[in-house]
């Protein structure tokens, strides 16, 4: 090849890099054989204790649901996972149809008309939704619940830099854990461009006032959902939501120590041209046969550049395929069973914890999905340490985020906890100091 080009050595190909910026080599060890790398990385990672090794009751946005092996078999098709963004529709119909079906399934779950193919995660979906609310409405203030996971709020803050927007918090009712509608009324003004609520909310509590909130204001109504819960509760579309977002990880993706995740993003038809991200549209080819392609690209960075709705380019498409596969394999029947089972198990676990002297669970009355807040009369921190010593990972401490709850914790359960795992937790809690 060098000869064809009239060159003598590889070095000739780098003659355009001046000596002043050259480096002699990379200060890294030499490469290793594949089997050595596999052994070394496997061994390093074996220092992790998985949720299999250790009953774990963490949720807070990510959940350990069972994922049928068929989901991985589907996303493991290398025609899918080794392809790039489907810029050339004729040769990418498989990915395009699968992503369009994902959009359709998300619309069905949420009651929206259009969805994009994904945002990076639930938190960036929230950031993008707030920006979109501002584009639609023009107002400057975006209202969020005080009961919002701090990492979501932190990301939202960074997504609003440069927009001139301001975030204001709406408190929750201390009895029910639901958004305080009185507080919300007080916070409303013509400058409020959007209101964000979650259902179920951060405490795992179902919000019962969505319809009332819609009636209170013309601002853009953004609802964050747990997609599995949507199988058994009326979707935000029923209550007049404009935008629905959420963390899609529960739909067929493992927790993966927090990434990759799936940002769900859907909206009503009237807003689709203001939506960020890649979207797939239905069309036909020159023969009139059904076909799919990326569409509304004039909203996007490679066409609109600095006027784009978002800078997002690479997204989480493969996880969207996993979600579509997961939803199709379970079907409505399976998904509704899983969702109902989550509610039942969380309710039963909370009741069992509540029976243990010193504990209150859940601290908010009313219906929860698959997590709930637990309090211990002497504080949770010592309980948490004790559980870890016993090989059980308790819920997420809330002290730093919501100190007013007085050293409480958020416990989650899914259909995946075995009776033995639950028994180990309860036994350890009973023995806790």
């Amino acid at each position: 090849m060098l000869r064809t080009m009239g060159l003598r050595s590889i070095e000739d190909l780098f003659a355009d890099i001046p000596a002043s910026v050259r480096i002699p080599n990379l200060d890294l060890p030499d490469g290793l054989p594949e089997d050595v790398v596999v052994a070394r990385v496997t061994s390093m990672l074996s220092a992790n204790r998985t949720v299999v090794d250790m009953p774990t009751f963490l949720g807070g946005g990510l959940y350990d649901h069972f994922v049928p092996a068929s989901v991985r078999a589907i996303t493991g098709r290398s025609e899918f996972y080794t392809s790039y963004t489907p810029y050339q529709p004729e040769i990418s119909q498989g990915m395009l149809q699968a992503l369009w079906e994902y959009q359709s399934l998300i619309c069905e779950l949420t009651g929206m008309d259009g969805a994009n193919t994904s945002m990076y995660d639930g938190s960036t979906a929230l950031g993008e939704a707030a920006r979109m609310a501002h584009r639609i409405h023009g107002g400057r203030i975006f209202l969020i619940p005080r009961a919002l996971r701090h990492n979501r709020r932190a990301v939202l803050t960074n997504y609003l830099v440069g927009t001139g927007m301001e975030i204001r918090e709406v408190d929750y009712d201390r009895e029910t854990g639901m958004l305080d509608l009185g507080e919300l009324k007080g916070a409303l003004s013509p400058d409020v461009c959007g209101i964000y609520m979650e259902n179920p909310n951060f405490f795992g509590r179902f919000e019962e006032g969505l319809e009332e909130v819609r009636g209170l204001t013309q601002a853009v109504f953004v609802v964050g959902v747990n997609p599995i819960a949507q199988a058994v509760v009326r979707p935000p579309g029923d209550f007049g939501a404009d935008i629905v977002i959420g963390e899609g990880q529960p739909l067929g993706t493992q927790m993966n120590f927090g990434g990759p995740l799936l940002g769900i993003f859907a909206c009503r038809q009237e807003h689709i041209r203001k939506m960020p991200g890649r979207v797939i549209g239905l069309t036909c080819d020159v023969n009139g046969d059904r076909a799919f392609c990326m569409t509304l690209q004039t909203r996007e960075q490679h066409i609109r550049r600095e006027k784009a709705m978002s800078n997002i380019c690479t997204n989480e498409s493969l996880l969207a395929i996993a979600a579509a596969a997961y939803l199709s394999i379970l079907g409505a029947n399976g998904l509704r069973r899983v969702a109902a089972e989550n509610v039942r198990r969380a309710r039963d676990l909370a009741a069992a914890i509540d029976k243990i002297p010193g504990f209150t669970a859940p601290i908010f009355r009313g219906a929860h999905f698959n997590e709930f807040v637990v309090r211990h009369e002497n504080g949770y921190a010592a309980v948490h340490r004790f559980l870890l010593e016993k090989g059980v990972h308790g819920g997420m401490p809330l002290t730093r985020q919501l100190p007013e709850l007085g050293d409480a914790a958020l416990f989650a359960t899914t259909g995946r906890h075995t009776p033995e795992a639950i028994a180990r937790l309860l036994k350890a809690l009973e023995a806790a100091p």
Binding site: V41, E90, A98, V232, F257, C313
Partner: protein, 481 residues
């Protein structure tokens, strides 16, 4: 090569026969006014679902299917052993909120990867948090803003060359910065134009080197001097990192901030559009502003450091796309310092070889060497009524994924070709032979291409005019023309 893509008239999931809905008793579980009565997701046999997606996959082209020289996207072989590692329960089934003592393996891997990437880029510190390259840009610009503010300066001008990736403009635009675009001269940054653009409001100059023409910006140290003299920062867009591994580094070129695209250079699979990973490296003065948490180590082990008072905060939940970071880490171990240098050797060799053979078949504006990619122009075929889009569509009939087309904008009828290092001479020759044949084909054949793909040329105008983004919007009926 001859190629015929599979075609299945595969119905939509929603149009398949569904088993009846079964009642679910929600009484006592969900308040009555919140209960959902119906969910229109079909109840299918698992086997039929697997078949559905398998058929769809057969109507999709990946790098495991064939040559995919998509410029600036670095579609190289995705090694299979990294897929196995990423699927380990010790990766997949750990929760990011677990106590640090229970995830020491994961934290150690992240810690070591931070250092490996810093070494490769010649930077002092790295955050692994950003989910993709564009988010890396966004993070980098936030860091630049925080750095200037910490010094009591409000700067809001971002300078970009006309060869910059579209995401550079969009990232700066999202942050509300003023964008100044400077024209290139002979395919490189025009130093004079840069000198007259910079000033006391300059936040940063964003550059990829080699640039999107595949040309190395030889005057990069002078560029750095101009930007730094004005008090601005120099940002390295790492999309083209595959060209320079072990030869030079952004740090050595006096860049202050760099983002990596692990789904390009470090070969985590693109997944049909994502996930990716876009870590960001910085020089020492910017380290205090990096997102929280960073992974650190002390006598008690690895831990997540949130005690960073000057941090910009977070750009996404948790710590980054961990399962991708595992793949990139394993890839770097496999290649080593020596192997990574060879990656760039072969990537550059392959790009220059194709360019050499294609020169004359198509035009290649700007002379000299290229690095990992080059841009050709099909404008000479305009007299035959043939455009780049026709060539791109026709390439599919020969079993090749088309290059990036119509980018960068300063080249008319552009085809941006990046072969990567994992292709053999045989593949490169086959591609050049196909292109040579195509430019001499009857224009009619090109205009009606592709012929051998699952569907024929797709009506993208119609899709945008009447957007149908879901079965709901379609009324579950596919349109016929």
């Amino acid at each position: 090569m001859s190629f015929r893509q599979a075609y299945w008239a595969e119905p939509l999931l929603l149009d398949k026969h569904s088993r009846p809905d079964e009642p679910v008793d929600l009484a006592g579980l969900i308040p009555a006014k919140l209960q959902r009565e119906h969910l229109a997701i079909p109840n299918l046999a698992e086997h039929d679902v697997v078949r559905h997606f398998t058929r769809l996959s057969q109507m999709n082209f990946g790098i495991d299917t064939g040559f995919y020289p998509l410029g600036s996207c670095t579609m190289k072989f995705n090694p299979k052993f990294t897929e196995e590692l990423a699927a380990l329960p010790t990766v997949a089934r750990i929760h990011p909120d677990q106590d640090e003592s229970t995830v020491q393996g994961a934290l150690r891997l992240l810690y070591e990867l931070q250092h490996m990437l810093a070494t490769i880029a010649g930077m002092d510190a790295v955050t692994l948090q950003p989910a993709a390259g564009a988010q890396g840009e966004y993070t980098g610009l936030l860091l630049a803003q925080a750095y200037h503010r910490d010094r009591g300066e409000e700067r809001h001008q971002v300078i970009l060359p006309d060869t910059a990736h579209g995401t550079n403009f969009a990232s700066a635009g999202m942050l509300g910065f003023d964008i100044v675009e400077i024209p290139s001269k002979d395919g490189r940054v025009d130093l004079k134009a840069l000198e007259s653009a910079v000033g006391e409001k300059t936040l940063a100059f964003m550059l990829t080197n080699p640039n999107t023409l595949g040309i190395f910006e030889q005057h990069v140290l002078e560029i750095a001097q101009v930007v730094h003299a004005a008090g601005g920062l120099l940002y390295y867009d790492g999309a083209n990192f595959n060209a320079i591994l072990g030869r030079t580094s952004p740090g050595r070129m006096n860049f202050d901030i760099v983002h990596f695209n692990l789904h390009k250079t470090f070969t985590t699979p693109h997944g049909g559009g994502g996930p990716g990973a876009g870590p960001v490296g910085v020089k020492k003065p910017l380290e205090p502003f990096l997102p929280v948490p960073l992974v650190q180590v002390n006598g008690r082990g690895y831990h997540l450091d949130y005690d960073r008072p000057k941090s910009i905060g977070k750009v996404r939940a948790w710590y980054g796309n961990f399962a991708l970071l595992v793949r990139a880490y394993a890839y770097i171990l496999r290649m080593g310092g020596n192997g990574l240098k060879e990656v760039s050797d072969h990537a550059v060799l392959n790009a220059n070889y194709i360019m050499h053979r294609l020169n004359g078949v198509l035009d290649v504006p700007f002379g000299g060497l290229r690095k990992h990619e080059f841009v050709a122009s099909a404008s000479r075929l305009a007299t035959k009524g043939v455009r780049t889009v026709d060539i791109a569509k026709r390439l599919m009939d020969y079993g090749y994924h088309p290059p990036t087309v119509y980018f960068p904008h300063l080249v008319e009828e552009a085809l941006m070709i990046e072969p990567t290092e994992t292709e053999t001479k045989e593949t490169l020759d086959g591609f050049v032979d196909a292109l040579t044949k195509i430019v001499n084909e009857d224009p009619g054949v090109l205009h009606s291409a592709p012929h051998n793909t699952s569907v024929r040329r797709v009506d993208e105008v119609r899709a945008a005019r009447e957007p149908i983004l879901s079965a709901r919007m379609a009324g579950r009926k596919a349109p016929r023309s």
